[in-house]
Subunit: 521 residues, 2 copies
């Protein structure tokens, strides 16, 4: 620690209980238990050179570091390490917006920059650019991209790793790397051409522990002229196949380019209801009458989705027209026009508009999800996201509802969120599934056991998760087991070569340094 | 070799002079010279298991292998190795189209499958899907994607690596890896979700030598209803800034989603002409009158581009309308409607339509480029592509024209193709530049010297190449030198870990195995 202090100054090394409490995972499924993942200390460098210096010291003394950007990865571990006793390498102070280019629509930022920071910068300078934001705006574009996180405007910007261009990385040996065109001295296209020449290595630094990203470029969306949205509702159970097929084709062709989520209002309302459960099982045998009758009686659509369009008014009107034309192939389909906007919004409009994340405006309104409401009279202390990826077909959507809603009833669990096929990424659904946590140990113990059950249950159907909480990373990676865990062996080869002392984020996504490996697997 | 014969059978190991002549690089800049890169033998496995067996033998006996797919990478090395004496690992026999899914619009193929093969398969089965094709249709989607090659329809399909999803890879130790969701046993979304969980490693296997890709998934484009195109012409030199700015914004917003190429008919016609050269240099000093007068006298536009739209007729009409509205900000801008089509085309139409590559129809018509014509009375024996990446701005486009056309005159070179800002990839231009080769040594010697000059000249302006011929790989990588070649050191760390014997494609993109490294750098 005194070595670290010599690098960053006494005030940026944290060891007191009060300071370290801030690095606890507020949503830890192990909150207050003996094996809660806790940091031993934290160090906050102010520059790339300081990061390099810290890494060299850690390698010399074999100190496990756990790098975080803004540390807001709630639901997936927050700012707590995978390995208790790690020293948090807190990059929050490195919060420079190095460049925003309006004509070529990109930004180059450091890890401590938040979505709020970048949004305000663009707004203050009156640049005609949009950022894409995830639900909570206090996170870091770099941190979220490295976690394969995404946002709510349109493709390709919604995939934050996919929309990045160029990285700067401190390696475990203290070396400093620039990827893509950034490796050219005096490069003119670091943020404009992602591949450079030779192997494309950027993906290595996502969901892993092979280096510390200290700069990253992002492609931004040139401010569109207009936005409009529409809702599409189908009445019958068996509409699901055509509903998803049409959605997939329109999305794959780029005509629908937004964050599509296909939900069943009928199923969602009856998640824990025996009658609904019965018709869900019945789908395997083919009669749809009961489902359709129940849905009609309850006044609920069987399937629904919202589509959003961004661009010139004439283009997006034509797109919405075409979408309706295509969905009209489904009998009794219903269309509803949703909100529409013209841009730029005034400051006052931007602050009050309800569809903030769809318009690239960062906020913290998602946290109202945990607040007291009619549905949730006792707000949870946190949540745990189970995020299996399933095929983008009606069959898979029904199957996932059947499999997971049976599990929910069997275990008597009340999910915070459940049951939508969400195009988190193009071409497949993430089946949304969020469990409540509570700081009383009982709820958490049950949530953990249920979560482990879900990992196995999903894998039995060929479904894997796209992201995981540190407490479950090893088990989530464990089902990626093709050819006797060839992928894990490959990760380990990379780890041993790139970080032989194992000082970076030990255990992240199941990748342990050699000296900790055999104790665990 | 007898070990290899035991694996694949005698008939699939090639050693005769006649057989090996087929693996020579037809466009080698070293054709017939003593250091032409030549194979010692070739072996053609028929299955993944045979590839694994061959790799294990090669590792045991330290035999350098050079994997190729269809071996058609003309202009960038064809099927000849980087290191003379390597054994070609010819994957042409592995040509199964394993799956094509119409609703989820993807294909899973082996390396020996060509664009022609995939196109015919889709056509025969009447699937409503398009592939994206590069100029020559005999290449391999896998081979081209691994080289960061692209095609001519629309984004995101044009970037063949970017549009891939999931790989199977044989590692240098013979292990078999599946990436992304393919690592789940019984995976249901291998071709639909590209990231899986944990580090995203696919990029490692592009433009490199860390493994042999034996299967790869690709996202396909659902057949659009219609196509239309338009040409945009600007008369004045100084229109270039607004011309590129508007193009970039429309492309970055996805309104123009095609393979945009901004060319100067005026400059191109006068490439080796002193009068044109003079006004090009003059641009630095700001008077545009002479340029504009010359262009008017010669009846040539100063700047031109073609935009192409794919989708529902009403949507693409609105897009073309919007594009014209935006470009109308430039005085005396001209618009011309180009060809338009409705799909599907009949077999006869598909065979005779002139815009084949824009419509995803593979062909070999590009080879007419080298044929006798008014412009090229003596066809070259081949060509060499210099492909520097420059910013997508008018300023950079002018600068690249000035710098490279001066070099062309100074060296008295007549390029086969020269001078367009081509959106090979989004957000930046590749400055097109193709040199003629000839099997008489003199032309080639001069082309090589000029090419080396170009690499350095480009790097002095912060421009690097996106791809390189084996003869120049090391020098092209050499200018990616940030922090005393940190990127090369990183590649070497990976090489030593993943292929310690150095048996895979030694020297590819400047990555040499340890035992050959010091002799060279």
């Amino acid at each position: 620690l005194s070595d670290f202090e010599r690098v960053v100054g006494k005030s940026w090394v944290f060891t007191s209980e009060d300071d370290l409490a801030l690095y606890r995972d507020a949503y830890s499924p192990l909150w207050g238990e003996t094996d809660e993942r806790l940091a031993a200390a934290a160090v906050a460098p102010g520059s790339v050179e300081e990061v390099q210096e810290i890494v060299r010291i850690a390698a010399r003394r074999v100190v496990p570091l756990y790098p975080i950007s803004t540390g807001r990865n709630l639901g997936y571990g927050g700012s707590a390490p995978v390995l208790s006793g790690s020293v948090i390498l807190d990059l929050k102070r490195m919060n420079r917006i190095i460049e925003v280019d309006e004509d070529n629509a990109f930004a180059l930022v450091e890890p401590g920059v938040s979505y709020f920071d970048l949004y305000r910068y663009i707004r203050e300078k009156n640049l005609r650019l949009w950022i894409d934001v995830p639900d909570p705006g206090w996170g870091s574009p770099i941190g979220n991209a490295l976690e394969h996180g995404g946002g709510w405007t349109l493709n390709p910007f919604r995939d934050h790793f996919g929309a990045h261009c160029g990285m700067e990385v401190v390696l475990a040996n203290g070396d400093l790397l620039r990827t893509g065109m950034g490796a050219i001295a005096g490069s003119r296209t670091w943020q404009q051409n992602r591949y450079g020449v030779g192997p494309y290595v950027d993906g290595l630094f996502t969901q892993s522990n092979f280096g510390i990203v200290t700069k990253m470029g992002f492609w931004l969306y040139p401010q569109p002229q207009a936005f409009r949205s529409g809702e599409i509702l189908a009445l019958h159970r068996d509409d699901v196949h055509e509903f998803v097929r049409i959605t997939a084709e329109l999305a794959n062709a780029g005509i629908v380019n937004s964050a599509v989520m296909i939900r069943s209002p009928f199923l969602h309302a009856g998640l824990r209801d025996e009658q609904t459960a019965a018709v869900l099982v019945e789908t395997e045998h083919g009669t749809a009458g009961t489902w359709d009758r129940l849905a009609r009686d309850r006044g609920l659509a069987s399937w629904a989705t919202t589509v959003q369009f961004y661009g010139p008014p004439a283009v997006i009107a034509a797109q919405w027209g075409h979408v309706q034309e295509r969905f009209a192939a489904i009998k009794q389909i219903e269309f509803r026009d949703g909100p529409a906007y013209r841009f730029p919004l005034s400051q006052a409009e931007a602050e009050t508009v309800p569809d903030k994340s769809a318009l690239g405006i960062p906020s913290l309104s998602i946290f109202a999800m945990g607040a007291r409401s009619e549905n949730y009279p006792s707000p949870a202390d946190g949540h745990l996201s189970f995020s299996p990826v399933i095929p983008m077909t009606g069959k898979a959507l029904l199957e996932a509802h059947r499999v997971f809603s049976a599990a929910v009833r069997e275990w008597d669990i009340e999910p915070l969120g459940f049951g939508a096929g969400f195009c988190m990424y193009p071409r497949s659904f993430v089946f949304l599934f969020t469990l409540p946590l509570s700081r009383d140990g009982g709820t958490n113990r049950k949530a953990r056991a249920f979560f482990r059950h879900l990992i196995t249950l999903a894998a039995q159907h060929g479904w894997g998760e796209y992201r995981a909480h540190p407490v479950f990373m090893e088990e989530v990676m464990g089902v990626y087991s093709f050819n006797d865990h060839a992928l894990r062996r490959f990760h380990q080869m990379l780890k041993d070569a790139l970080d032989p002392e194992g000082i970076l984020a030990a255990g992240r996504y199941g990748i342990w340094p050699k000296h900790l490996r055999n104790k665990r697997v």
